[in-house]
Amino acid sequence: MEVASGKSEKSLSDEKLINEFTDSEYKWGFVTDIESDDFAKGLSEDVVRKISAIKKEPEWMTEYRVKAYKHWLTLKEPKWPNVKYPEIDFQDIRYYSAPKKQPQLESLDEVDPELLRTFEKLGIPIEEQKKFANVAVDAVFDSVSVKTTFQATLKEKGIIFSPLSEALKEHPELVKEYFGSVVPYTDNFYASLNAAVFSEGSFVYIPKGVRCPMELSTYFRINAMDTGQFERTLVIADEGAYVSYLEGCTAPMRDNNQLHAAVVELVAKKDAEIKYSTVQNWYPGDKDGKGGIYNFVTKRGVCDGDNSKISWTQVETGSAITWKYPSTILKGDNSVGEFYSVAVTNNFQQADTGTKMIHLGKNTKSTIVSKGISAGRSNNSYRGLVKIGKNADGARNYSQCDSMLMSDKCGAHTFPYLEIDNNNSTVEHEATTSKVSEDQIFYLNQRGISTEDAVNLIVNGFCKEVFKQLPMEFAVEATKLLALSLEGSVG
């Protein structure tokens, strides 16, 4: 374990600079004024059953939720992440909120125009425009899906891309087979809570031998006050299939913290590949650390068949607290797991993020590239586990964890864990900590580049290996987002 803290005489300790521009505006912080059907605050078996009833779920799902809820009652909130926050009162949260006018899946005409404007403002294409012909979108607003685009086009290829609630009605057998198979409701405190109260999410199924012809993406928007968002994503790539999936998220600026506890499950069969990219931009709180989203997420994929591949790419710039470890179980022989991450924390944000690579099959391979950027008074931890099982002959892992410090008051921490039960395997770990140095900035200044742009160049350079994993459009988005979240953070 290594711990580095932001103390160095090379830092740009100029207080003036810090104060001059610490505010970076959160552009997505508006609230949509819309009538909604909300549950009263509070959680009970009754609430769990009510969510299931309102979604008209099959009996087995209701029972699954109730089992999860009962199990959750026996669990304690985990305290091991390197983050600090006041006790969460789970009775003070609303577990369901939906816009009153129920969305019509066939046509946008039925959708509340206020909602359409919201997604337009967020730049999310929920109409099937030519310009976005290579991206299909499922737009989730609080607890329900508003619109899923290009469903018909995808259906021609046998691809299912729909809100989970719809999939439960139309493909109950598929959902039943895989739901909870990668992240069981007993997995952890928040996964358990999610299994009890999840309200919406996306379901993706790519049939055998099909390459999904466009990017699939889900966009999550929290709007309602005091409401938790508990979505659930399930992606299945059958034998030889390929899919690239992206999720994005934003929330209004509010003074109190809001909880987001999602579960994502991926299943890659023999020769299949899933690329899962996240651009996480939940409201991070203001510059004094007030408000912001608690992002407590469980993401896991299983490389079920031989030669399968799962690749996680995440750009985490938002949330007051982020707590997530997208993981891959490498069960099939020759299967490949990748994790590319950029986590940025500014002001009072805290992130404890990383991955787990569980090597079970022979000749399995994993790559971990983690870039942590800390600014302001934030705290950024990488936590990763590489486990090589006793049958994983020839398994290989390469991990690289780089931290960059932008101020004297922030912290970067690395917690790599290794569990190796097979001698015929290789594990490599590299870690670096650097600072944006005055010398680098002056060098760029001397070539006519302003300090703000210099910092962006340097930070983007630092993240390059991760950004190049993202689909083109999103890489551009991510670059902009990074610039925004670090605006004026040189200090």
Partner: protein, 249 residues
């Protein structure tokens, strides 16, 4: 071009420049020589606005503007260039992106249009050839993993790409092998014309065989204590600095 009057500067409360005067006109090449620690790099840093140094007196006029009032990036945009004695590595930022950004920032400041990608690429190819830089070095991250000599070549490559009015080259010749020295000098000579000027900081006469200076100045203890024509370099090479510095201080 640049007029420096009675310039005084300190770092960490230690006075380094103690009243320096220098006048450089368009079309001229000036060489500044002087023992280690005499303040040559300090002068270069002060002129280009490195904030580690504090100016405590004097005036500098550059193209009619008060240079000392400008931010470092604006000095660069006014077309003042420093070839660094120790170029910095910037991992992950390609030379191409870096130079394109720099050129466009300078153009924007001077109300010029952005460089087109084609114009930029053509220019890169042409200038890389002049300094004998491999195209792989251009696509690589700025100075990252470059050898000492490659870093110096990259400074001259940037000089040619940015085409400033005044170039201060701080020991661009140190660490170069004989061939590289010749190539780098060619680069500087290619840059030089009647409308721009060069200040060369060097320890060695041999650079001045390739780049012929109009004036040579000896900087000692934060002041210019002797100026002369190019023959002064030969004299210094032969006799060292003692004969001039005696009686100073």
């Amino acid at each position: 071009m640049i007029s420096i009057k009675n310039l005084k500067a300190e770092i960490d409360n230690k006075e380094i420049l103690r009243g320096l005067d220098l006048q450089v006109n368009a079309g001229e090449v000036h060489a500044i020589m002087g023992p280690n620690g005499s303040g040559k790099s300090t002068l270069a840093n002060v002129l280009t606005g490195n904030e580690n140094y504090e100016v405590t007196g004097g005036e500098v006029t550059f193209n009619g503007k008060n240079l000392l009032n400008l931010a470092p990036e604006d000095r660069a945009r006014e077309r003042l260039f420093l070839g660094f004695q120790y170029p910095v590595e910037i991992p992950g930022v390609s030379n191409a992106i870096f130079l394109q950004t720099a050129i466009n920032e300078i153009r924007k400041y001077n109300n010029q249009e952005e460089i087109t990608p084609k114009e930029f690429l053509d220019r890169m190819k042409e200038k890389a050839k002049v300094v004998g830089m491999d195209s792989s070095l251009i696509s690589r991250s700025v100075n990252t993993g470059f050898s000492g000599g490659e870093k110096k070549k990259n400074e001259i490559f940037q000089l040619l790409m940015l085409n400033p009015k005044l170039a201060i080259l701080d020991e661009t010749d140190s660490g170069l092998d004989i061939d590289a020295l010749r190539i780098v000098s060619q680069g500087v000579n290619e840059f030089k014309n009647k409308d721009n000027a060069v200040i060369l900081v060097t320890h060695y006469q041999r650079l001045l065989d390739y780049i012929i200076p109009d004036f040579i100045h000896v900087l000692y203890n934060g002041k210019i204590i002797k100026s002369g024509g190019k023959e002064l370099a030969l004299e210094l090479e032969e006799k060292g600095y003692d004969w001039i510095t005696k009686g100073e201080k």
